[in-house]
Symmetry: C2
């Protein structure tokens, strides 16, 4: 974090607490480095930013300027991204169990459609027929390669394997492509995503080896040369201080060499483009939730620090038990003793805890500002309004370190504005 | 549910899917029976409806007309309830780790303040000093009686016991009351809540026995005669078809006889009023989420029915693994065979499942309407907008079975309206 304790306090005075803040310079530097590192080895590499991670239009504009494209999972995300992109094929629409009605809008938008199942193709054809639209020329399908675990970080959120709701088995996928050809689709992509927040580069070796079994079959049995392979967006970030960030050069090397080996092994006469759809990796580390300590309780031999932030601002700890590093800037330079304490939100909900029995610096006082790290992805976007809690503003640290509000704090009117009284 | 299959379909055609619907007549009958059953034995019994369960102003008005008061957990809930009640002391404000700024507003509202900790009293005094307000004449404190389990239903959400963030140990509580007297507070309530969704009446026997240890000490050591005891809002509902609803007469009998025994045991010269703050029990069974099946996937020997509802509409299944009964009205009368299947939402989130490996009637088709039962509490109110999903409308079945929209469907503008562009 580039802000000093004094700056964090000054922002709190101006905008109130809690606030969610992102660092533009750090995001820009990071995404540039990410794309250039990939493109040194894989020149046509693209990252379709997973909009769900941070659906703020101002952030999306920054990412687009730096060369990201967009992965959308709903009509809302499609709506906002269409206002940003120059070309509609810079949007990939990745959804699951998508209604015919939604697909009508998606087809009309001319983005790249990534279907989760063969039944999605059925819905797509129905949507085209209903709206008298041409069948899209290109389609992508999602493979469930029958591997995948619960997220190593959250012990939840199954993305691959036979219990997952996402994607198709190899056999079903083959049938999907063949059916797609019959209905007149001529260009194809292949997508998979079987893990989130992965920090081990070998994950992609396993993934690519699995994927190329299908790539080979598609060429052999259906004469399909894929336009692209989308490896998903699983690159993790080191939420815990003892975790190492992924070595990007090594990751690119593993991806490139795995693909090269597979192409050789199967004697494939072409190289599909390689896409990913990272969201967390792009912005996750460059957002912070700043909250004020409103109350301190010491009871039953436990110390609870109660913040004015809660699951309305950050759901991941309460929902998944996810780790977020937390610092108290006023005590950053303290070399003193540590205590063990829990940090909680103010919801009437037992899960509303940011951490439990965490080592923290001694000497925390009421009104201290707490910084919850790595909230630049799946943070503000996942907040709810349970207990009538209002979501906090999103702020952006500009290149000159000035602070710009890019989403305001919610009001009672935002909460009750959709209610209808007699 | 009083609606026929044809009526459910007609409402879907008019308002779209998914929709959340409540039955006014059933709510009114239920709350009347609830209050009258209690008041037959405990004439001054009050239920402060937990607004967080169903914070729709139209529903709150109905409950108020039937004699409920309100329990608020945030300034937003307080704001909406103040527009409904005639007397400010019909609102109890139950929050935890509450900021001084929030308490300033709460004190000015003249509602009954229920403090979670002695430190809340410190904040209260500071708030009064800052705003030049009189210290409230009455205050309530929350006891953590060092018992309590994770919810039997959700295996989560710890409300009581030494790991809970809520309430105070007996010793700390005694100190809180003594301090409150010193700062000039003269009337007192006592609150506790150690379990949610409880269907065993013996829970309240244990709870009351624990509570009265404190009631006795308060009288003996601090000469405090409590104005009221608030037993919390833990009465459960039978989410599962094989569960029995709580026997209300029996519950009232257990509460009344436990209190009578305690008063006798401790030789207490007074009867405090008995309050509860049930939300789930009041409206939970009288709300239904109706969603359309958009897509069916049969893969890896699993059948997935994908709905147009998701965690934006009902979080409890995904967040807690909670059971909600699900029916398909078109097949209600089918005496045919059953299948085992999963019902999922359309979020790019592995947890977005309404049920897993559930026995369902055979013959489900795409476009079938699914009814998810018991969503009248902690349903719509807990929904988020992750993945850019918009929250569905709330509808009310009036006494004459006409349908009134009491909250409209969200739009893109609702989602992005707080964003600020340059």
């Amino acid at each position: 974090m580039r802000l000093t304790y004094e700056e964090i306090e000054r922002i709190a005075k101006k905008f109130g607490t809690p606030y969610q803040i992102y660092d533009k310079t750090m995001i820009v530097d990071h995404v540039r480095n990410f794309l250039s590192t990939f493109r040194k080895t894989i020149p046509k590499f693209q990252n379709f930013f997973a909009v769900k991670a941070l659906p703020n239009p101002e952030i999306l504009k920054i990412l687009y300027e730096q060369g990201c494209k967009f992965d959308c999972s709903s009509l809302s995300e499609l709506y906002i991204c269409k206002q940003i992109v120059k070309n509609e094929n810079e949007i990939m629409y990745t959804s699951n169990y998508t209604s015919i009605e939604d697909l009508e809008t998606v087809i009309e938008s001319n983005c790249i459609i990534n279907l989760d199942d063969i039944d999605g193709l059925d819905n797509l054809v129905t949507a085209c027929r209903r709206k008298n639209l041409e069948i899209p020329k290109m389609i992508c399908f999602r493979l469930n390669p029958a591997i995948g675990n619960t997220s190593s970080e959250t012990k939840s959120n199954i993305l691959g394997g036979s219990e997952s709701k996402f994607g198709m088995s190899e056999e079903r996928l083959m049938k999907a492509y063949q059916t797609a050809k019959i209905v007149g689709i001529s260009k194809f992509g292949l997508h998979t995503m079987i893990g989130s927040c992965v920090l081990d580069v070998n994950h992609w070796k396993d993934l690519i080896e699995k994927l190329y079994i299908t790539v080979d079959r598609l060429y052999d049995e259906a004469n399909i040369k894929l336009e692209f392979i989308n490896l998903g967006g699983g690159i993790g970030i080191p939420y815990r201080p003892d975790q190492q960030p992924i070595n990007l050069e090594q990751l690119v090397d593993v991806i490139h060499s795995s693909i090269t080996q597979c192409i050789k092994k199967y004697n494939l006469p072409y190289h599909p483009n390689i896409y990913m759809e990272n969201g967390r990796y792009i912005t996750g580390q460059f957002g912070w939730l700043v909250a004020k300590c409103c109350s301190i309780k010491q009871d039953f031999e436990t110390t609870f620090y109660g913040l004015d932030a809660c699951m309305a601002n950050l759901m991941r700890c309460g929902m998944y038990g996810a780790y977020h590093h937390i610092t108290i800037p006023r005590l950053d330079d303290a070399n003193g003793s540590q205590i063990v304490a829990s940090i909680v939100g103010s919801l009437c909900e037992g899960n509303d805890q940011f951490c439990k029995d965490r080592k923290l610096p001694d000497g925390i006082r009421k009104n201290d500002l707490f910084v919850i790290h790595d909230t630049g992805a799946h943070g503000h976007a996942m907040g709810f309004q349970y207990n009538g809690k209002l979501r906090c503003p999103e702020l952006l640290i500009e290149d000159d370190k000035s602070i710009r509000m890019i989403r305001r704090r919610e009001t009672f009117d935002d909460l009750f504005g959709t209610c209808i009284s007699t």
